[in-house]
Symmetry: C2
Subunit: 130 residues, 2 copies
């Protein structure tokens, strides 16, 4: 999926961790990178939002209707909507409005970017373990 032919389009979804950072234990984190990373982590540092990410990913086709997410969480619909909005704004979920319902899908790259920053054994094999 390329967006290079749409130069005037605003960034549709900020991908968490995409602009930052080297693995945490490989080199000292700058203040700027730490702020960006903390923002992404705050978006997932919530039990309801973690469960929403997990529920959406577990759904058939990796996509879930908002209408299917309220009941398993046992939270009110406005509360679930709020948490979904936080996750979309953090670039962890995409939102696609079809008819009266919105459908959500996990952005695997965003979760993988966070995992890559935290791991002490990066995929490139360069051990960052202290």
């Amino acid at each position: 999926m390329s967006t290079s032919t749409l130069p005037a389009a605003p960034p549709a979804r900020p991908v968490a961790g995409a602009t930052c950072c080297a693995p945490l234990t490989r080199e000292p984190l700058s203040a700027e990178d730490a702020a960006v990373l903390a923002r992404s982590l705050k978006a997932i540092a919530d039990p309801a939002r973690l469960r929403l990410l997990s529920l959406v990913a577990a759904h058939a086709g990796g996509e879930a209707c908002a209408c299917d997410l309220t009941e398993p969480l046992g939270l009110s619909q406005p509360t679930v909507s709020h948490h979904l909005k936080v996750l979309v704004e953090a670039g962890l979920l995409t939102r696609d409005k079809r008819g009266v319902w919105a459908y959500y899908a996990v952005v695997p790259e965003a979760l993988d970017a966070l995992a890559a920053v935290l791991t002490t054994t990066p995929a490139d094999g360069r051990a960052a373990r202290p």
Copy 2:
């Protein structure tokens, strides 16, 4: 390391994520696991604490004296002490008092456990991507 012979001992250090969870995108997270995981993520969802983890890991021998962590962060010593305490309580740092100073080291297993929960491509090769 076994603690089975020390039934009366309090847990020396809770290891973040050690008791939970399967990768987020592999199966729906239970409410209990979500609460445990959110607690660990909250401990690192802070710019100062992320920088502390990174600074400690970057130090010679992977261990840093509290006395060397205040200046690079530009925060007061009590504030740094508070953040270090949160990280120790979350099992992300160990603390070793020697003489007048405390020395901190990163717990790689704790960071790796968090990374393993977030990644959509688990190390065992079973793709969890939605």
